[in-house]
């Protein structure tokens, strides 16, 4: 058999292989014109081979990389293949299709570069599956894979079905209002209003008129009827945030609504019925307030029919990468930016922080990084200075030492908390000399509450 025949047979075989694979493949000549375009490429792009052949590849492929980061150009210039680079293409109906691209150089029989080949994989299915997986970790605007939060997520459908009063506890910034909204949105009341009142923000008399409303003439300046939050939340959900802050006098009035579902607007002559579901939220320890006589026991039991306790971020640090990704997506959308991720070092530094402001603080850190970041990746210089300080040490260590130092830092923080920031007691508990503890506090940038700060002598 002649060489020509063998070569022709091989070409037919290669064509058959290219036609049968599910990845799109096209080749270009040295003028960037398309010389082959397989069946999968037709399917993914929605462009027929007839229309594609002979055209400039960027007019056919229309990928986000064509103009500024063409993978094929890079490969032809460096003679190095690129594997699985992520981007998107825009098809003829304006859909953005996520793909991954791989490239290779084409050579003629003499070994000279005569063009390039690009292989691309449709990632829509992968993205859909990823979204489904992420949905398991998401309820409303809350996102978590930590066991404690997963337990709450599993309870939510049952909690939402009920109309019983709900108490949400958790430190500041843990997402109490988000959880209340999630409960409302999952309930049969979802079409009705969700009204939130911050009880700590208003003095007693204002809070009363805000909650119950007033009638015309109730006081000077009341020249018309004003509905209160109970009326506005009719058949919906009323969130009483910072419930631990209200006065004993106000607690009595609230108790009556919760017991009898009746209230009287200021200046009103007859009672009105409250039909809203009540969710109360607090970052305070209500049983302690009851013991101190600052919170009525009967009101506590009335609001504490179902209780959900949100863990602080320190107890769900495994959520930090997920939350960072979530906030990056959120701010990309809000600010029309294209930041892809945070660098591994940034994630490592974020994992070592104490997060007293919890998720709200983490969100603020990412929002700040968005202001400063001009590239696709959030890096350490985009974090606040105090975060950068903690990475200086981190950066120059090998992985084992990093882990050791993280652990040591955590241990010292925990011991300080247990010992109410008494440094002598902390040093004793840790088996360290007092001056060694001071040195380590400085080394790990551990700050003490202002009232506890005494410079070492």
């Amino acid at each position: 058999m002649s060489n020509k025949k063998i070569s022709s047979k091989n070409e037919i075989r290669y064509d058959s292989i290219l036609e049968s694979i599910s990845d799109g493949v096209f080749t270009v000549d040295d003028h960037w014109r398309i010389t082959s375009f397989n069946r999968a490429a037709e399917e993914i792009t929605g462009i027929s081979r007839r229309e594609a052949l002979g055209e400039i590849c960027s007019d056919v492929f229309r990928s986000s990389m064509c103009e500024n980061h063409c993978a094929l150009r890079e490969t032809l210039q460096s003679d190095t293949p690129i594997i699985d680079k992520s981007c998107y293409i825009i098809n003829a109906t304006g859909d953005k299709i996520p793909i991954s691209v791989s490239t290779a150089v084409l050579r003629d029989q003499k070994g000279n570069i005569c063009g390039g080949a690009e292989t691309f994989r449709d990632l829509r299915e992968v993205h859909t599956l990823r979204k489904e997986l992420q949905a398991q970790y998401r309820v409303g605007d809350m996102i978590s894979r930590s066991p404690a939060m997963q337990e709450i997520f599993h309870l939510l459908p049952v909690v939402a079905e009920s109309s019983s009063n709900l108490l949400i506890t958790g430190a500041t910034g843990t997402g109490k209002e988000l959880l209340a909204r999630a409960v409302h949105n999952m309930s049969a009341r979802a079409d009705q209003p969700f009204i939130a009142v911050n009880c700590a923000a208003l003095p007693d008399n204002l809070l009363e008129s805000e909650l119950f409303g007033y009638k015309k003439g109730a006081f000077t300046g009341a020249d018309h009827d004003k509905p209160g939050r109970f009326a506005l939340a009719q058949n919906g959900t009323l969130l009483l945030d910072e419930i631990g802050e209200i006065s004993l006098n106000m607690q009595v009035k609230l108790l009556r609504v919760l017991q009898d579902h009746l209230y009287e607007p200021l200046g009103g002559t007859h009672s009105e019925t409250a039909t809203a579901r009540i969710i109360a939220a607090t970052n305070q320890n209500l049983p302690d307030l009851v013991l101190e006589g600052k919170f009525r026991e009967d009101l506590y039991y009335r609001i504490n029919v179902i209780k959900l306790d949100l863990p602080p971020l320190n107890e769900r640090k495994e959520d930090i990468p997920l939350l960072v990704e979530h906030f990056i997506n959120k701010y990309n959308h809000l600010q029309n930016k294209k930041i892809k991720s945070a660098s591994p070092l940034v994630l490592a530094v974020l994992m070592t922080q104490k997060w007293q402001g919890n998720i709200r603080e983490l969100e603020n850190v990412i929002e700040r990084a968005f202001v400063l970041c001009r590239s696709e990746v959030i890096d350490i210089q985009h974090l606040p200075p105090e975060f950068q300080a903690s990475q200086l040490e981190y950066n120059h260590l090998n992985p084992i030492n990093k882990l050791k130092q993280q652990t040591e830092r955590q241990l010292i923080i925990q011991a300080l908390e247990v010992n109410n920031y008494n440094r002598n007691a902390t040093a004793r508990q840790l088996g360290l000399h007092k001056s060694t503890l001071y040195r380590k506090l400085k080394k790990y940038s551990i700050s003490l509450p202002a009232s506890q700060y005494k410079p070492p002598r």
Binding site: T45, G46, I47, S48, E51, A52, E55, I56, S58, D59, V60, F61, R62, S63, S64, C66, E67, N68, I90, N91, A92, T93, G94, D95, K96, N336, K337, K338, R374
Partner: protein, 130 residues
């Protein structure tokens, strides 16, 4: 009337959503009276549409554009003539002199529904020469 065309290598940029360089044509009575080149400012990185709105563009002639951005542009009063390909000056001059001709400058695979030959063509003829 101000027309913007995202440009790359003297051709219409393949993807508006990623374009970094724009060519602006001011048209009066069907004639180009002013041409300007402008890079997308760093402060507006990734905000091509905001840039055009700030510039006061009336018509955008472009290559591929995501459906979302096209709709946003149109909601903000910019007529979009999408999915065109070819040399920027050739496309604009041809449009001004003879209007869209069937099949010319259409991106491959772009049905008549999408590209300048159909919807864009009508808006082009309507606006041409203002």
């Amino acid at each position: 009337m101000l027309i913007a065309i995202p440009e790359w290598n003297q051709r219409i940029s393949p993807v508006f959503d990623e374009a970094l360089h724009f060519k602006f044509y001011r048209i009066q009575e069907g004639i180009i009276c002013e041409v300007a080149d402008q890079e997308l400012p760093g402060l507006l990185a990734g905000k091509q549409l905001e840039f055009l709105l700030l510039a006061g563009v009336d018509i955008l002639i472009c290559g591929a554009i995501s459906r979302y951005l096209q709709r946003e542009a149109e909601l903000n009063g910019i007529s979009v003539i999408p999915f065109l390909a070819g040399e920027t000056d050739v496309v604009i001059n041809e449009w001004l002199s003879v209007g869209w001709q069937h099949g010319r400058h259409c991106m491959p695979g772009c049905g008549r529904r999408q590209c300048g030959q159909d919807a864009g063509c009508r808006s082009g003829k309507r606006n041409r020469g203002k």
